[in-house]
Symmetry: D3
Subunit: 337 residues, 6 copies
């Protein structure tokens, strides 16, 4: 075969019925070896890139062909796109291994639509507005922990509920920081310093709770300990580092308050918070976090719903309701001409 | 006795132990005729003005004296302020009827610390930013309903939980409108028009749900129907008025959306919402409303807690926790030097 | 083909294995274009009439054939009935459009087994027993609203739980009115007038909450506002009409009570009542409504359960239990010889 | 003193302020020895008869006087009735033992206003309508168990919630039997035999669960086992007796069904039913039982509420709401002219 | 065909891909007649023996072949084992009836790995340590009820959650008795006699609640009455037998206590206990029972999880979590070299 | 006055009516300055030592006397014990400061009845049975942290529910360790090492969560962070110390497991566990912990209930039931002759 790189990348969302595909790399999301009633085998699989998923089939398959496909890994495919029950189906004609080095992971994971570098700069810019030097010292310990920040810039904010994409944690954190900047000054008896630090730290444990190399999953640490307690532990560690650097004790009250903000941010026991908000800053963090996360869920469900004939989505478990998709005010129509 | 108006008003929060009080009008919050063990009767009562409550006693009382005191009404008192178990106690020497016309009700009900007129202007100014003419027409029906607006400017936002004072509904509504103005433009797919209208209408039924002449109580309508359904009914009525004025039908979608915003704003069935938020605007309204209401509760509990020796308030039922009062960041100290 | 009307109607429940079907119209409940492992397409669909559902297949299908089938619409079918896994399967040989005018909708929707006209007369007869003239005036406003009554006679009482058939709302309302007539006079301190009016109005909002043209679904209004609040709004509107007609104000107490009865009839917040029953009439309405609705669910599950070998139905979600079908007392056997 | 029986019985509800009371027997509900601030002792106690409670005091009391008063027992009192804070207060001048034989217990316990004998006859009359001879045999075993029936005629239906008076169990059972007679024939597929038997047996365990000699309390059996399981055990025992008498086995299906009706009649686990209703008869029993019990609670709260100035009762824990007392339809006014 | 017994038993867990199977009897767990897209029929079924389940197919099937297969019954099979999607699949070539007498049921039901006889002896040995003669007499009534004990030795402890195998009830009961023997003597104020009797009786009703001939199911009695109330009834019956034998009344306190222990052992209403633990012995029984049952569930999920590549099981409904399978301490590895 | 030490200590539980008390030190639990109806002041206070509480009064009090009494502190009292409403009352004649050095705190706090030193030795002896060297190293870090162990030996296990006395945490921990030693070896696939370590650490955070100098209260850290998360943080810190000492990394799996055991030990979200038990060791720890804690509550309620005439305690909130106190088996009588 010719040079793979000669073929421009065809993203799944751009494929059209009847199109012939060559030398395209896809992530194998799942695979199934099935037998047809006439005894022949075929492979039913789901391919994925960052723009969506594609149902694919290999007729007249063999077990070795099936074994060769790495679930969660990549292959280079050739075949034809067809229309099938209103959706696309990819009939694979051939597939061959692809050089791992040639794969740009960024092409295969859903990703924030914003610039990660700029978002991270903005987060740091906002955090520099913290006035209390103890809080600022602590934040610096996190921000200058480059291995952690690398994960922070890349992690999704959740496995599936909201901001479930590369850079999602960063985007969500940036969003809530912006909300805090706008809202908290209206309540002068609420400490903006505490809220900003709390927003930055509230989900930082997700860098450890989630795996996001080629798909999104919970880590064992995530399931045994969780991002909430993880962040409380890291605050403890970083405060020790601050004390080592400054040579003075970190104020106990501030440590307690920051750990409390993180521990209480889910707002209720049933969502895994071991403590309920007991400070104004904690309840503010809880609602600002939810405002952004929930709005993202609603808007995402509306945008991604495939059934355009229906004004309502399916029932959404986490919301305990269906979502009404109709653009009543014509506002979304204006934005997507 | 001399001319009552000659005596300047002494508010309860300004009374000092040892002070002699004359010709002062108080609201009689509650009264009790008690017998002492030696057989004599005394009256134990609680007096109130807008600045607080005062425990009072009349020794050597008689039943006619007791009958003469109107619960929820006013009398003119003379007596002496004493220190009693760390609080003040008012020993009444004499009391006599007071001319209703001479009473300024505003002196006796807790009241917003802000200017009601200015707040109302600001509310109207914000609502004028609504662009959709149908929504704007509907809002005008409410804003130009002067009897309703009189109540709207005066009603508390709740009997006791948050903004439980004259002007509280207006102050809370203004606050949430300001939050919406700041926050919603960050989510361009969320209709600011709908959110602003929803915020204005979400608690407007409290004008009918609550009594707030001389104390705060639920009305019978409030208990049988509630402010949530009341507002949905008023929207229906006002839309009919809009249609009568404009001669064109009001868009059904917008009517449905606005009624839904009001019906769903409590966010869960257990708090009396017959519908759960099914639109982005509905979930945004729910969290913005809660952010302001809950912050007010936390800050109010901290400010009003009488036990200054303890860093924690008593358990607060609605929050399911105690509130931590300590001014960890020194922010409240700065504001109240 | 010959004249369609020449063929007598064959209802699904009367079809027998081996039977040839010609010129029969069925409602297309759902359709699916599927590919077989040898690459050929077939259509898998579910047809429906008022007596039941029928699984059908078209072998060697094409996409245009699939497109031609209107989901929720009607076609005229020809084919053969076969036995398949203990149930019937319809192998379609041909299908062609059918003249909408020729379709009697009543043949395709499950329908009450009683006479709709007689039931409606009985409802009105019972309502005429209301003695209070204000309540009676209000009820008249509803009963003489012919467009509403047309829907009231036709609407189901639910999408699936109970009385989920054409005329179901009427049948259920009639049933509960009869129960009220029998039961309430035993409690002379409970107002029969209020209960009768409450029963008539409690589910009337379902005329707007549900769609029941060719299948049963929730409307957008139903999902955003709901039948409970809808009825409260209608009471408000009809009372305004009464006042316009009579020229005297409608008693506020009665309005409040009737709206409360409707709002509280689900009996708990979790089932969407924004208020809990606070009057004897409200609790009576709640239990009478449930008695009929729940009995209908139990009896319907027993009758419709296809697995005759088992004495128990499957787990029923709304009841949180399986239903025991055995006719322990031989009472149902006696009635269905 | 003179002959006690010379004095006619003065019931508490008939006492008037200023009245002198002599030779009257009251049940001592509770007693307290209190010290006044001048060091003298007084007794504060609550007296009771079937018509109500009376607060009483003995000034200048001694410990022997206090010891002499039997809590839950009877004394003969002399004293004066006074008005105290809107209620009556009884100032005791003297008290002395009273001959137990001279006390008619019926004067001291709240009691059904109906004729116990007639109600019991009516219950038996209804039960004789049961057609199935097995069910009838079983019911006979209960009805002819005279010691049990003595308790059945006397027991209250509850300690405080509903029908909490002597004969309350009988009255409630009779009520629900009448409801079943009226309602069940409208559902011909529901076995009237099973429902009648189930109604009769559903609360019969309360004869063992409650004490009702001089006050209403739970027995140890009631708290360890409960009336629900108790009734299931008795059905087992009585069926054994039927089998012994008839010499034939009792149908297992009917035994299971009857025990299920009893076990499931509370309708939900949280109210102590170990099984949820799984038969039409079980759900019918649940709602008929609740209809009568709940109506009784609402009507009783309205009638017994002492605060006539307020249209609402206090919050009622078991109903999770206040009760609206206003006689909106003038129906209760008509009955109590 | 040759003599069936000539072929040694091949258990499902020992089958290998490519293996030819002859004359093997399997239990038919479920069956399905399916049509392929080319119109031919095939049978898809699940076979079972005590070691596991096996997916099987018959290509080119006919309806009579399908009818011939008894669900829940046995056939003798011939065919070939293949690898299919990582699991085994059995392609059936022939099947014929098998002589019921030739089937050893023990080969087809999952069964305790311990010796039933020895476990039962141990149970009796422990129960003989009961010192109170009344309790001992009662236990003897159960232990000498051989028909009951036969079921007791054979019944599973549950349909699927824990100890769901023949002998499971006995094994679980023995386990909890051993725990009680170890633990209770550390609390000398807790009656070992009551706890031992309570442990023995707590699940004994499962002998009646469950069917366990060829599969595990609930009986009608189990679903209408349940093992908890069943045991309470049996205690009542056996106590009557004790009284008949000894000629003296059984102490009421002990009867109440034992019935309470059984009724309260699920520990909460939502799990079907009509009473909550009100005695130290009852709470001890609840936790000892749960300790063994829950440990069995966790260990069983770990052992039986087929996905060896994942450190976590699927979400387990009854535990509301996934189970972490990793042998962190190397303890299970040591035991299964 | 004479030498205070000349008077032997009179504990509250040993005081008798009529007794004169001199030179006795009590802890002032609470105090109240009250006015009598004749205008004189008196002090109503509650005194406490480790054996109980004593209601006391000072007649003819003054404000300076009231100010002189340190709440939570000690004074030396003189006065007379009287009988008052069935309980004792102490009429104070005089009081004077007491030398703090002369107070033995152990006399004033409820305390374990066992030897703290011996219990601690036993805890260490059991922990030495841990075989895994990593776990052992970690435990050593805790056991050799003498400031922490001082608190560990002294802290109560709770503010009021169970083991609410000095040494209670140690006693409860020792108890659960003993249970684990007895029970866990019966389940060879459950790691005894993990369970023992988990038991030792599960409540160790209570040393920081509770104050127990002169009364039992939650600390601010306890309320903001809680003992569950605190212990997880300490495990993190101590593991860092182990790594520093050993120079090798601590196994991540073991760290995760131990933190999970601590985080999940409350067993449900509503009791503040941020994670549910996901390992066999975690569920075992949960039930062993509860077995000891709950048994202690039941036995303690029985022993401490003052109302000996009643077989039942009052309703116990945490148990959702009353406790049955009767010594049915005569077992407690035997132990307390």
């Amino acid at each position: 075969m010719g040079t793979p790189t000669a073929k421009p990348r065809r993203f799944i969302k751009d494929l059209a019925p009847g199109e012939f595909v060559e030398e395209q790399v896809f992530l194998i999301n799942s695979k199934d070896l099935r037998t047809s009633s006439n005894g022949s085998l075929y492979i039913h699989c789901v391919l994925r890139d960052k723009t969506g998923q594609l149902l694919a089939r290999i007729w007249q398959a063999t077990e070795p062909m099936f074994e060769q496909m790495p679930e969660g890994g990549f292959l280079r495919f050739k075949g034809r796109v067809e229309n099938y029950k209103g959706s696309l189906q990819f009939i694979i004609d051939a597939m061959r291994p692809c050089d791992a080095a040639a794969v740009d992971l960024a092409d295969f994971m859903p990703q924030t639509s914003e610039d990660i570098g700029k978002m991270f700069e903005r987060v740091k810019e906002i955090l520099r507005q913290i006035k209390n030097r103890h809080v600022l010292n602590l934040i610096k310990q996190f921000v200058t922990d480059e291995p952690l920040m690398q994960k922070f810039r890349k992690a999704p904010a959740a496995v599936q509920m909201h901001h479930a994409f590369i850079g999602g944690l960063l985007e969500h954190t940036r969003n809530v920081l912006e909300l805090a900047l706008l809202v908290i000054p209206r309540y002068p008896e609420v400490s903006l310093d505490l809220v900003l630090a709390g927003v930055f730290l509230h989900d930082i444990g997700k860098t450890e709770e989630l795996i996001y190399e080629t798909n999104f999953q919970y880590t064992t640490e995530g399931q045994l300990i969780g991002h909430i307690v993880q962040a409380a532990i890291w605050i403890d560690q970083k405060i020790k580092a601050v004390e080592a650097e400054t040579g003075e004790p970190f104020p106990l009250d501030i440590k307690n308050a920051l750990q409390h903000l993180v521990l209480a941010h889910h707002g209720s026991y049933e969502f895994g918070s071991p403590k309920l908000p007991a400070m104004p800053e904690a309840i503010a963090l809880h609602h600002l976090d939810n405002l952004d996360a929930k709005l993202h869920i609603y808007l995402d469900r509306i945008k991604s719903d495939p059934d355009t004939a229906n004004e309502w989505t399916e029932y959404v478990r986490g919301l305990d309701t269906k979502v009404y998709k109709k653009d009543v005010m014509g506002i979304r129509r204006e934005r997507h001409p």
